[in-house]
């Protein structure tokens, strides 16, 4: 399957991040057309396109927009979730750095469609480059009359605020993001009410991922049929895949949904030193791992679900046979333990317990009993925690046990660094050889 650069099409233009550069490639033409349409028609277009959220959950975007009650007399808000913090996920940040105006154009069109006069872009605080680029893009758009009052004579007013997060993974959870944006401690909110009804400042709010919003100008500008020529019935369109791990050319590959990992791996130059794929994750650390036998599974929401995992953020991580699964799972759990917000018991205490136990496995001090206990603990977290962070934390271990139980068994007697030489898995060894 061929690559289909759309969002990434002109990334080779070093001036793309400026408004002039973006316009040179047809930027903001979709906006002008959109502002002449009926907002409901735009919602209809996005619904018809079948675009699904690119933040991980894959919820249909148009449907989400249609949940916002209209003519309710309340202000509406658009919030862009740009708090990309998932281990292994690195797609929104490159988009914001390379092509920030596609995000801004999407924000304006989306705000117009859902009748929001205020939009917020909540960017992960650790990436000042992205914050600078997006803030600059907002400034340029405002100077060009694309943000502000009576945009392009349409009578539509919009203000866009760029907000930097303060370094908490939980703030990528949409309701925690809203609390954080309101100046509160970032912890997830009790639902209902859902954000579409009572979100930011208790008003109807749409929260979308960066990549989702970047799709909007192209869908509105080029039409549903054009969009649906890519992907599958249930997963239409294209996706910015960010491939990382033991591959020769890690990076961004924009391709239709339905491409297989094997094809993506080819584009990424294959595995370093041609070592075999041991395990891989289609979309961040929060989705269950797969093995080499799944390399031909189409990268779609539905096929990934069938394979027992999720497309997630669409940012595959590939690991070769030098990597200890025990160690990888421990790293991920250390992350979740560190990022657990503390609100609910299963996630707060469960990540603490699991991480401590896994760290003992890593030293070769695990036990058969604890392998069973860990399985139990993950079951005591999954579906019992307040938000999806707990579910995510309960994912890596059971998935790893499904394919690599032996490695955990070995870790009851042998430190993993003895079984797997850590130096062998360092990417720079292979890179140096290249």
């Amino acid at each position: 399957m061929a690559l289909t650069p759309v969002i990434t099409e002109h990334w080779d233009d070093p001036e793309l991040f400026t408004i002039a550069g973006y316009r040179r490639h047809g930027g903001y033409s979709a906006l002008a057309a959109a502002l002449k349409q009926d907002p409901d028609a735009i919602i209809g277009t996005v619904k018809d396109s079948g675009l699904r959220g690119r933040g991980g959950a894959g919820f249909p975007t148009g449907l989400k927009w249609s949940f916002v009650p209209q003519n309710d007399g309340k202000p509406h808000y658009l919030v862009v979730n740009a708090d990309e913090s998932e281990p292994g996920a690195c797609k929104d940040i490159p988009i914001m750095i390379a092509n920030p105006h596609s995000l801004i154009e999407g924000v304006i069109i989306t705000s117009f469609a859902i009748r929001a006069n205020h939009a917020f872009i909540y960017i992960r605080g650790e990436v000042p480059e992205a914050i600078r680029r997006v803030a600059n893009a907002v400034r340029e758009a405002r100077e060009a009359g694309l943000i502000g009052r009576d945009i392009l004579g349409s009578g539509f007013d919009l203000d866009v605020v760029v907000h930097a997060g303060a370094g908490a993974y939980i703030c990528g959870e949409e309701t925690a993001l809203l609390d954080s944006l309101e100046g509160l401690r970032g912890q997830p909110r009790l639902k209902p009410p859902f954000p579409a009804v009572a979100g930011l400042y208790a008003s109807p709010t749409v929260i979308n991922n960066v990549e989702t919003i970047c799709n909007i100008p192209y869908i509105v500008g080029r039409g549903v049929e054009w969009f649906r020529q890519f992907g599958t019935e249930k997963s239409p369109g294209f996706k910015v895949f960010a491939v990382s791990g033991h591959v020769n050319r890690p990076g961004i590959y924009e391709a239709p949904l339905g491409i297989t990992m094997r094809e993506l791996l080819d584009y990424a130059g294959g595995m370093i030193d041609d070592r075999p794929v041991k395990f891989w994750l289609p979309g961040g650390s929060s989705v269950p791992m797969l093995t080499a036998e799944h390399l031909d599974t189409p990268m779609t929401y539905e096929a990934m679900a069938e394979a027992g995992t999720m497309l997630g953020t669409g940012t595959p991580m590939l690991f070769n046979d030098t990597v200890s699964v025990v160690k990888a799972v421990t790293r991920w759990l250390e992350f979740y333990k560190h990022e657990s917000c503390g609100k609910c018991t299963p996630c707060r205490e469960g990540t603490y317990w699991i991480t401590g136990t896994l760290e003992r496995f890593q030293e070769g001090h695990g036990s058969d009993r604890e392998m069973e206990v860990l399985t139990d603990l993950c079951g005591q977290i999954a579906g019992r925690s307040f938000c999806a962070l707990g579910d995510a934390a309960a994912t890596p271990y059971p998935a790893a046990m499904k394919y690599f139980r032996d490695e955990f068994a070995a870790a009851t007697s042998t430190p993993v660094d003895e079984t797997f030489d850590p130096a062998a898995s360092y990417v720079f060894s292979g890179a140096a050889a290249r």
Binding site: C344, Y352, D376, G383, S385
Partner: protein
């Protein structure tokens, strides 16, 4: 089902509720739509474990201890946040293995980092974590790692201590502080397993309501400095009682061990204090033990000496019999209905005097007339529940957070539910902001003029059905205010309630401890009233005093001037009078003084006979709260031998040959036989509006935690009091700097000066706080003209 509420005005309205049918553990039941699973299950007697859930706090679903199974939902749901919908089929831990395992898992997680130091923990024995770990937890933990540790304990305030390692992060305390008290001074800090409750640096949790967090903490994480390590719950005797500190009328539970009270808790009374109380009511009880008058005393050769009871009764009898007809009776504001009734009857019969008053504070004849006309013996017309449904509440000369803290909590709750709170006063306080209130600025002394010139919008707001006007006792110090309040209530149809500060004021008023008023609001001069009362008292109308007697201030003047021969004084602190010098001279000049007291005081020092009486834990009685709602309580300390005022008075009366019941039961029966009064009432006063003093005038009220005698010997509580500061406008502060000297007729006080939303010609100081006692230090009352000078120079 129809839900009938039986409180508040217009309460016999029947409210039809949408009912739905649900099934819990196979039992079909009907509940109002939106009922939470956990509440519905309680009705069936099914107890679902919970930590973060509290019926008076918004659901948060954080602890996950209450997970249950709902048919059709893939994951277990938190019962504390899951609203029931029609046809919902719920299975709790008793019917669902999924729910049972989910709860067991959460319990195992909760105990993970918990120190399990139950044997040395104050909560051990009454601990929801302990109990629920037993009922739904695993027999043994599978965790063999290292527990998280914290330094322990830390002070979140001088009174409240936190052992962070015991905390289960249920956020009940932080939610209470934010949602109920409006004092979000504690918050969860850090994240993950390091999450902990804390305060901002150097900003302790000095909320008036902080003690409630100790009570609702479901583990032993929050403890009070006063109770920590003092006792085990299972060694305590618990007795339900009523709070003696103010007229809010909280239900309390008092716990004691071996005759010593160890702690007090807020008791559950949905109509009054819900499940809360203030820190004064919770922690200020050590006064009950210390500084007590332990034996009767009589004055001999100018010196007080200990005497036997018969000797002391004899001395009192002889002195009072000699002065009969010329005796004044001063009843403190802390008496029970029964004790005040005994004073009232003792004065009118044994002493043949109507010179009686309970108002040991600034008072006026206008106030006496207002109370007699509009308050005494009336039924509950404005209630706590009524506040919640009131469209608007007008406060006049009343600072609820300081003067009636549970009233404040309910007003805040009402305001959160949409009630508009307006306040006629001098200062736009933080407290008013917590009630989203609007200040109708009145210079002290000019409240009546403000009330009589409200704009049309405010008057129409107050004219909505259900509106309530609450007027505080300080209104007595501002001419015309009580008259204007009554006029406004009549004009708008609003319910009117008088909110005194002390627990015994309304009790004494209704018991007839005020000149001209017999029990139940009966005018002394009304023939029918005289007949009823005389019949109840076993005497004849002709034997009752013929004319209305003197008010408190007049009694003091008469005693000073020798027009009264004797005084009977019960529970009076002289500095509480607006003119303490007059009060001292009155006691000094009165020929014969009988003091019924539980603590040594300026009165006992000068008295001829001192008769020790019981404190609230040693007797039974009844307080009437500001609503007029009886708050009966029994004797807490079963073995206490000290007699109550009524019993002591009955002994004196007996020796004088006059019958007077001395036991609470007989008095209650007698009051019951008198019944309510339906006859004539006093005329509502119509006093012209005061003009207000010239120059800078004084605004003042008593802070909740101050120099009050009943807060003595509780240093941890005292350390949470608000600092003694003066408040003035930004303009005044700009001119005066950060220290001010306030000078009144009797002297000066120098205080730190803070900016407040207050008129330029008004200064606020606390009435009776350490370093500022306006009656004695300044010789001034609110509304008086005072002089301000910068810094410490007088």
């Amino acid at each position: 089902m129809t839900v009938t509420s039986n409180s508040g005005p217009g309460s016999d309205v029947q409210v039809a509720t949408d009912l739905i049918t649900v099934v819990i553990d196979g039992v079909e039941m009907q509940v109002p739509k939106g009922t939470l699973v956990i509440r519905a299950a309680e009705q069936l007697g099914i107890e679902i474990p919970r930590f973060c859930d509290h019926p008076l706090l918004d659901p948060v679903a954080a602890c996950r201890a209450c997970l249950i199974e709902v048919e059709g939902m893939p994951k277990p749901q938190p019962a504390c946040a899951q609203a029931l919908t029609d046809g919902m089929n719920v299975k709790t831990q008793y019917a669902s293995e999924v729910a049972r395992l989910a709860q067991e898992g959460v319990m195992e997680f909760l105990l993970l980092n918990h120190p399990l130091d139950c044997p040395v923990c104050d909560k051990g024995g009454e601990c929801p974590l302990q109990n629920q770990a037993m009922s739904v937890g695993r027999p043994e933990t599978r965790f063999d790692g290292e527990k998280r540790e914290f330094d322990k304990p830390i002070n979140v305030s001088a009174q409240v201590l936190l052992d962070r390692e015991r905390c289960v992060s249920c956020a009940r305390c932080t939610r209470f502080a934010e949602q109920i008290a409006g004092d979000p001074m504690i918050e969860l800090l850090e994240r993950g397993a390091k999450q902990q409750v804390g305060t901002a640096d150097d900003q302790p949790f000095d909320s008036y309501f902080s003690g409630n967090t100790v009570q609702i903490c479901p583990v032993g994480a929050l403890t009070s400095a006063s109770y920590r390590f003092r006792s085990r719950p299972f060694d305590l005797v618990s007795v339900p009682t009523a709070c003696e500190h103010c007229a809010s009328g909280c239900s309390l539970r008092t716990d004691y061990r071996r005759g010593v009270v160890t702690r007090r808790l807020a008791w559950d009374d949905p109509q009054v204090n819900e499940e809360w109380n203030c820190d004064k009511g919770r922690f200020a009880f050590t006064y009950q033990r210390n500084g007590r008058v332990e034996h009767p005393m009589i004055r001999e050769n100018g010196e007080l000496r200990v005497a036997s009871w018969p000797e002391a009764i004899d001395a009192a009898t002889r002195g009072l019999a000699a002065a009969r007809g010329k005796v004044g009776v001063l009843v403190g504001g802390r008496s029970t209905v029964e004790d005040a009734y005994a004073y009232a009857r003792f004065a009118r019969t044994a002493l043949a005097s109507d010179d009686i008053d309970f108002r040991v504070r600034q008072s006026s004849d206008e106030e006496a007339a207002f109370l007699a006309a509009r308050v005494a013996g009336t039924r509950v017309s404005a209630s706590y529940d009524g506040l919640e449904v009131a469209p608007a509440v007008l406060l006049v000369s009343l600072e609820p957070e300081d003067e009636s803290p549970i009233l404040f909590l309910r007003l805040r709750k009402a305001a959160r539910g949409g009630t508009s709170v307006l306040s006629v006063g001098a200062v736009a306080t933080d407290s008013l902001a917590k009630m989203s209130g609007r200040l109708l600025t009145a210079r002290p002394g000019e409240e009546a003029a403000v009330l009589r010139s409200l704009d049309d919008a405010t008057r129409s707001l107050l004219s909505q059905p259900g509106t309530v006007i609450l007027v505080g006792e300080r209104a007595a110090g501002s001419a015309g205010t009580l008259s204007a309040v009554a006029e406004l209530a009549d004009a708008t149809g609003a319910a009117l309630a008088w909110v005194p500060r002390r627990a015994g004021e309304r009790s004494a008023l209704d018991a007839g401890a005020l000149a001209g008023l017999l029990p139940g609001g009966r005018p002394l001069e009304d023939p029918q009233a005289r007949e009823q009362v005389a019949a109840a008292w076993g005497t004849t109308p002709a034997d009752l005093p013929a004319e209305n007697g003197r008010s408190g201030d007049a009694i003091l003047r008469a005693a000073r001037d020798g027009d009264l021969a004797a005084l009977v004084v019960g529970g009076v602190q002289l500095t509480d009078y607006a003119d303490p010098t007059l009060a001292e001279e009155a006691i000094g000049n009165a020929g014969f003084v009988v003091s019924l007291e539980n603590h040594h005081s300026a009165v006992t020092e000068r008295a001829d006979v001192v008769l020790p009486v019981a404190v609230v834990t040693e007797k039974a009685g009844t307080f009437l709260n500001w609503e007029g709602r009886p708050r009966p309580f029994g004797q807490v300390l079963r073995d206490a031998l000290t007699m109550g005022d009524a019993k002591v008075l009955s002994m004196v009366a007996d020796a004088m040959g006059v019958a007077l019941p001395g036991d609470v039961r007989s008095i209650r029966m007698e009051l019951g036989s008198l019944g309510p009064w339906a006859g004539s009432r006093f005329q509502t006063p119509a006093v012209a509006s005061g003009a207000g003093a010239t120059g800078t005038v004084l605004a003042s009220w008593r802070l909740l935690l101050d120099s009050g005698l009943m807060q003595e010997d509780e240093p941890h509580l005292a350390a949470t009091a608000r600092p003694t500061v003066a408040m003035a406008s930004a303009t005044a502060v700009a001119a005066l700097g950060d220290t001010v000297t306030v000078t009144g007729p009797a002297g000066s006080v120098t205080l730190p000066l803070k900016v407040a939303d207050i008129a330029d010609d008004v200064v606020w100081v606390p009435m009776n706080s350490p370093g500022c006692h306006i009656h004695t230090d300044l010789g001034a009352t609110p509304g008086a003209s005072v002089r301000l000078t910068a810094g410490g120079a007088a």
